[in-house]
Amino acid sequence: MARREGSQGFLAIALALVAAATLAGLTPSATYGQDYPKKPITAIVAFSPGGGTDIAARVILKAAEKYIKGNFVVDNRPGAGGALGFTAIATAPKDGYTIGMINPPTVLLNPIQLGDKVKYKLDDFYPIANFVSDPGACVAPPDSTLKSMQDVVDAAKKNPDTLRFGYGGPGTSEALTLRKFEQTKGIKVRKVPFAATGPQLTALMGNQIDVMFTNASEMIPQYKNKGVRVLAVGAEKRIDMMPDVPTYKESGFDATQLAMRGLAAPTGVDPFILKILSDAMKRTFEDPEFRAKALDLSLPLDYLGPEDYMKVLKRMDAFYREEFAKDPW
């Protein structure tokens, strides 16, 4: 007897669940009566939630919703150093409802390094807008004797193969910068790989390593804290957030190191839709409220429209291919 009642109760609950869910599914979505976008636009992020790319994407896309008059939904597809996500963008349906974040130079390095194991190419993307450009930074502990990149070179020459240089591991833009640094200055240092900035910073502050290459935006809290000394940044010109820090070029090292993050769509999407997207992004970037928030978040904004972005991408791609051909990593 008790069993029959039990399963009847079960049945009731199940039916109620079905009813509720159906009602939820029938609720109309927020954007009706407009040509594009008619439903939420999916933005694929090739990295895990919480990382730099993810947070930048979420912040910017949320601000852009006002201008696109629609909703963005972030879809995280981490894996294979970004390759899985980038592939997903390149092979997405070309109806304009799936776009994604691309990260030069990583997005460029994957096909160069992994060859045909990677199923996308630069031509598979139509760049909509670049959001942020995060320059590299050469950083030393606050009480170090190293006060400039020249000091680093001198120290390395005095004691070859002793100076402990932290970087993000092989295949990163830091690795290329470090290699170039060693080659152009004729020095040899001990290169210590790190999997993430956190442990790298800890090692620096604990004097486990003497100096390191990393991303400027990740150093901003410590920079403000005077917890580290930023010797130089890898941008073309000095950056606003660290006005007293010279660039690599100013310090005698003729190179730039830039990690960019921007939005792209698969090639083949209706140009009309692409124009709507790029215009919306442009207006987002001019929005003063958004710019204030970005400043709070220390996001190094660097807006590039589709044509400029494409130019930069092609230039970077040519550069990296040349480097790889000379000396593959």
Binding site: G51, G198, I220, P221, W329
Partner: protein
Amino acid sequence: MDALGLLLHGFQSALTLNNLFFCFIGVTVGQFIGVLPGIGPVAGTAVLIPLTFGMNPTSAIIMLAGIFYAAMYGGTITSVLINTPGESASVITCIDGYQMARQGRAGAALGVAAIGSFIGGVVAIVCLTFIGPVIARYALRFGPPEFFAVMMFGLLLIVGLMGKSVVKGLIAVFLGLLLSLIGQDPATGAERFLFNQLNLLDGIDFLVLAMGMFGVSEILLNAEKSMDMAKPPKVKGLIPPRDEWGPAAKAIGRGTALGMALGLVPGSSASIASLLSYSLEKRVAKDPSRFGKGAIEGVAGPETANNAYAGAALIPLFTLGIPSSPTVAILLGAFVMHGLIPGPLLYQKNPDFIWAVVASMFIGNSMLLIMNLPMANWWAKVARVPYKLLAPLVLLICMVGVFSVKRNVWDVGLLIFFGVVGYFMKKLQIPAAALLLSFILGNNIEFTMIQTMALSRHGLWYLFMRPISGTLMALCLVILAFSIISAIKKKRDALAADAEV
């Protein structure tokens, strides 16, 4: 410094209705995230950060911190009830916790875990407030050589935790280590053991392995006896019997100390904390053979340790602005987003904020305890859902959970594969826990070894040239020597005694 006064002021701020509300939401969401497989505290916290934009910084951090430690507790619930670790720190809890559940003592397991977690978390926070800054500076002396030494120590402990057969245990450990090497080698970028699958470039996800070898394989194992499993024994209630209070309390005490010590060291992890605690408990117990069969210290110790770890891990974040683990790194991102720069300056410029957050952690942990003690019984009743319904649901939830990690069906296929492998391992009595733990440690060990060798021209001898790592390595060698000697002795005794069954 009037720390106590500031703390009281902090309580005032934390006890406002607004902040209490956000604390409650954080703790509830955190538990939910912890129970659901797939979404870990990292992803869960990250997804919620944008929602905190409009909130004032104090409330935002209160909520996010609540998610952080509540998620740890949620992972315990699944470990105990369905032998599936929700995240890496809960693996150890599966060993004795699940056995306790099978004996009808799920309530006691969850209860002691709740109490231990509360005590561990609160004590860690107290120390955070008063002696944090001093200790944090010292912790910076730990570099890659020290991390390597700590992990080797952990590996030796895993070996020591194995059941009857040394050979099988070692096989599990080596398999775990090998599996962890699949993927791109972070030190040289070489791709290893990909078998032509780009999906393996990042290696095998811990969650896939854990849910396969523990969750799915358990269900497959039970399926042998047909899906109408005998009704699990009646849940005996929350409070463990009198004679277990003493050992549990001592385990909690030891776990707190251990967890806190490790939490201060950037680079260790909650799983090492719980692993060390379990080993410690097993070694100091009067009757170590109870472990693996439902010893309450095997739950109390590790659970306390990993919450104490979580609390203490916030110290390097607050005082130096250094995140000691990915989850904490998310919190750092949240801090920065709200314009708060963690570090020594934070204590000076925004003392109200710090003390309010600390006070809220007391409150959050209390909320966890209050919510969970009665709920433990509730959760335990989940085990009484008819198995023929529970098993398929758990199977589905495992598959969805794994899918949600990378949104890749391939991972689910891998889950099934490891489910079958785990099933056979259980039948052959090869310890899956050892495999999983050494998997967690595996490529970190290799990476830190390479880092150590990169740091100095002396290569691995560098380990012995530094005081901390030198001591740890010496300890490892001593333990290794002892184990080998005692193993040889046992063999010799066995041969001499001409064992009769």
